[in-house]
């Protein structure tokens, strides 16, 4: 039975902060396919196209027929727990600091036998479990055996929390809490049990509907934050940076112009200044402290979320300059992910399709509700994914992009 998480005691300020260590992160290239799928919240294993055998560990040729036509396919992860152990000793620093640690050997219904982290509520073998693939602190896929059916306080399992970025009892900065997505997120994060939500806002003289209501929530603290102002970002980081466990960058400047639809660079520059340079300013000021706190107790720094756009993958010409700014932000977010890697802080990139707000008014449905974007961000934080594609349009464009980016480019160009 997982004991529900309790609020950790206040940190003793004279004690040294534990520095982050990582689980072993080295993988062969073929095994990175597991990580790529886990990044999208999926368990995928190689399946032989010729004889159907499911392979694990990942490999270069089918272990039955030697075929090299191995395809990554989603698996449901159900299986039988055959054997378990609990480590009381480890030569790996990361695990050494987190003993005891429960592991299991599971035979998946689809065939292979896997070594997996074992959730505390999994019954002793023989028993039924379900395997998930989470991104662990090293940024690689880790298999986690979960109980077949949900159990109370399941998310609070000590080992599982090392593979998630749950906001419960954590402190969260949402950089733009005025936008529809920002407002939804503030509510969702408060509901998820965060201790404190700093709700950022720029241009205080512009008050969108709904924003005033947020300040009535006891966990919410409104903080001025203009991502175009380097000194303001620096000052806020000086004030609260050492306490931010999760940073969700929702700031988004979105206009509907291609190149020749509007003269001058001023709109494009504003999009870049917030969407790209805003991220750069934030990262320069907030990332160092978060890196230092990657292993800082139960409420450690765990995640950095970027609200990008599906337009970041492939330019949507009617919103051409906006797409370019989001593509720039995506590239920078990948850099940020690499820079956060040694600290075990996960960078989560969110790629919604058109959000149901004023700037997408002219686009045909389906559009995604701001509350749905917020919900999927929360799901990624509680789960093990790092690339999120909320909504049907995002899923569709992502699938087309993976299938053939050039074809997608043509399809989007035709949508004028």
């Amino acid at each position: 039975m997982t004991r529900p998480l309790t609020r950790p005691p206040r940190k003793n300020p004279i004690l040294r902060t534990r520095v982050p260590n990582l689980p072993p992160g080295s993988r062969s290239r073929v095994t990175l396919g597991l990580t790529a799928a886990a990044a999208r919240g999926r368990l995928e294993l190689q399946t032989c196209r010729d004889c159907g055998t499911v392979q694990y560990p990942p490999r270069e040729a089918c272990r039955v027929c030697l075929s090299q036509r191995l395809e990554w396919k989603v698996q449901n992860g159900t299986g039988e727990l055959l054997s378990e152990t609990t480590l009381h000793h480890s030569n790996e620093l990361f695990y050494r600091e987190r003993l005891p640690w429960r592991l299991g050997m599971v035979r998946l219904d689809c065939g292979p036998v896997v070594v997996a982290h074992l959730h505390g509520d999994c019954v002793r073998p023989p028993s039924r479990v379900c395997i998930h693939a989470n991104i662990d602190r090293a940024g690689q896929a880790a298999l986690v055996a979960m109980p077949e059916k949900d159990t109370p306080n399941m998310a609070d399992d000590r080992q599982l929390r090392e593979m998630t970025c749950d906001p419960k009892f954590r402190k969260v900065l949402i950089t733009d809490a005025k936008s529809p997505v920002g407002q939804s997120l503030v509510e969702a994060i408060v509901k998820a049990g965060a201790d404190l939500v700093w709700a950022g806002y720029a241009e205080p003289w512009k008050k969108p509907p709904g924003f005033e209501r947020l300040s009535s929530l006891p966990q919410v603290s409104l903080v001025p934050l203009d991502l175009t102002d380097s000194r303001a970002v620096k000052n806020l980081a000086g004030e609260i940076g050492g306490r931010v466990d999760i940073l969700i960058n929702t700031a988004d400047h979105h206009r509907n112009y291609g190149i020749n639809a509007r003269e001058g660079i001023e709109v494009a520059r504003a999009e870049m200044d917030i969407n790209y340079f805003g991220l750069l300013r934030l990262a320069q000021e907030f990332a160092p402290a978060m890196r230092a706190r990657g292993a800082d107790g139960q409420s450690s720094a765990v995640a950095w979320v970027n609200l990008l756009s599906i337009f970041a993958l492939s330019n949507f010409p009617p919103h051409g300059t906006y797409s370019a700014s989001k593509a720039a932000a995506l590239s920078l977010a990948q850099c940020l992910r690499a820079e956060f890697a040694p600290a075990g802080v996960r960078v989560i990139n969110v790629f919604p399709g058109p959000i149901d707000d004023e700037w997408n008014q002219a686009l045909p449905p389906p559009q995604i509700a701001p509350s749905r974007v917020a919900a999927e961000i929360l799901e990624a934080l509680r789960g093990g994914a790092e690339d999120v594609f909320p909504g049907d349009v995002a899923e569709d464009w992502m699938a087309r992009w993976r299938d053939n980016p050039k074809v997608l480019e043509r399809e989007l160009a035709a949508m004028r």
Partner: protein, 391 residues
């Protein structure tokens, strides 16, 4: 599949050498292997230039393999092999060397295995142990094979009703054997009480279920009988050998290995049965592997080793002399030398050159090897049966 395999004619095994084990050393593997070679030459009287074949096993020789060693030690050879098979390397080295000498490809093959041990070499070795281990085991935290063998032990105990006391009895007996062995690193007696209550490592494994990594080396020579007699070296005849890799791949968890497939052939080739064996050395990286070998090598039926263990005593003077130098669990595991340790002890028992506890009238000895937890199970298995010079 039995029959049809050639015997070993007059190929013999001589000159058991152990380079004393130490917990840590600042020397490299080359140093220990050189000492082993020197030991072979001194003990046999052979000059270095008379050795024309070399078989090497080592984890810490990198970036060198056997080839680098030839120039490092100034040897010109007609036959060379490198056996990266962990605990099976002794058996496999003997198999390779025996065919070389039998066919005339070489006349005197030195088989050596050894490793150094620095304070962090265990952890560093692990990262490069195998692709599957790196991709699918070490990320989960064991930092070594403990978790894998804990799984195997947990499964075996549940499937066959084995108790920790059964494993403990073997460990206690091996410690008693080790107390008489001059090179054993463990020098204090072990009681069943201490075994049962020791510090947990990875449930159900506790401290005395695990070997102590150390530095050291083991070696022996493979010659034709005529050459051994010319050198006045006591020798053991090679009756039979088996070897198997990746046996039973579809067993969800390992509870048996290649010996189960090949043990009939082993005894058939040797012309003796399990009851004729006077002394057994099994590869003992963990007690569960000991019992697996006892079952798969025909000393009892599958799943019945708990009962077998309860019925027998395993010291050199007991009803079933077993790991008579103490095994790795009490002597220490000097890397790849652990794969030679049991075989070298059987050579000592069969040739009457024991330095520890002696088994009286040991005519037939069996040494078994096991190794290379590539992912979730040991892939290599093998065994040899040696006999005294008289029939």
């Amino acid at each position: 599949m039995t029959g049809g395999r050639a015997g070993y004619d007059d190929v013999v095994v001589t000159t058991p050498v152990t380079v004393p084990y130490v917990r840590y050393s600042m020397r490299g593997a080359h140093w220990f292997l050189a000492r082993a070679l020197t030991g072979l030459l001194k003990q046999s009287g052979l000059g270095k230039d008379r050795i024309d074949g070399l078989c090497v096993s080592s984890f810490t020789l990198t970036p060198d393999s056997a080839v680098g060693l030839t120039q490092h030690l100034g040897m010109t050879l007609r036959w060379l092999d490198h056996i990266p098979m962990g605990g099976a390397c002794g058996v496999v080295a003997l198999r390779r060397a025996a065919r070389a000498v039998q066919s005339g490809d070489a006349t005197a093959v030195a088989c050596i295995a050894g490793d150094t041990n620095h304070t962090d070499s265990f952890r560093l070795n692990l990262g490069t142990f195998s692709q599957f281990a790196r991709d699918a085991v070490y990320p989960y935290g064991s930092g070594g094979p403990n978790a894998s063998f804990a799984f195997i032990t947990d499964y075996y105990m549940r499937k066959y009703g084995a108790k920790r006391e059964d494993f403990g009895k073997l460990c206690v007996a091996q410690r008693a054997n080790a107390l008489k062995f001059p090179y054993a690193l463990m020098k204090k007696p072990l009681t069943l009480e201490e075994y049962l209550n020791a510090r947990v490592i990875a449930e159900p494994l506790r401290l005395y279920d695990c070997v102590m990594p150390c530095a050291g080396a083991e070696a022996f020579l493979v010659l034709r009988r005529g050459d051994a007699e010319k050198l006045d070296q006591p020798y053991a005849r090679l009756l039979a050998t088996i070897e198997r890799h990746n046996a039973f791949p579809d067993d969800p968890i390992q509870y048996r290995s290649g010996w189960a497939l090949d043990c009939d052939e082993l005894y058939a080739q040797a012309g003796v049965g399990p009851r004729d064996i006077n002394v057994v050395a099994a590869y003992d990286d963990y007690p569960v592997i000991n019992v697996m070998q006892l079952e798969d090598l025909g000393f009892c039926n599958k799943g019945e080793s708990p009962d077998f263990v309860r019925r027998h005593s395993f010291t050199a003077e007991g009803s079933f002399p077993f790991n008579t130098s103490g095994g790795q669990l009490s002597v220490g595991q000097a890397g790849a030398a652990g794969g030679f340790l049991g075989l070298v002890e059987i050579i000592r028992q069969i040739t009457g050159q024991t330095i520890g506890a002696a088994v009286t009238k040991a005519r037939f000895g069996l040494a078994s090897g096991f190794g290379m937890i590539n992912y979730d199970r040991g892939l290599c298995s093998g065994a040899v049966i040696l006999a005294t010079r008289q029939q």
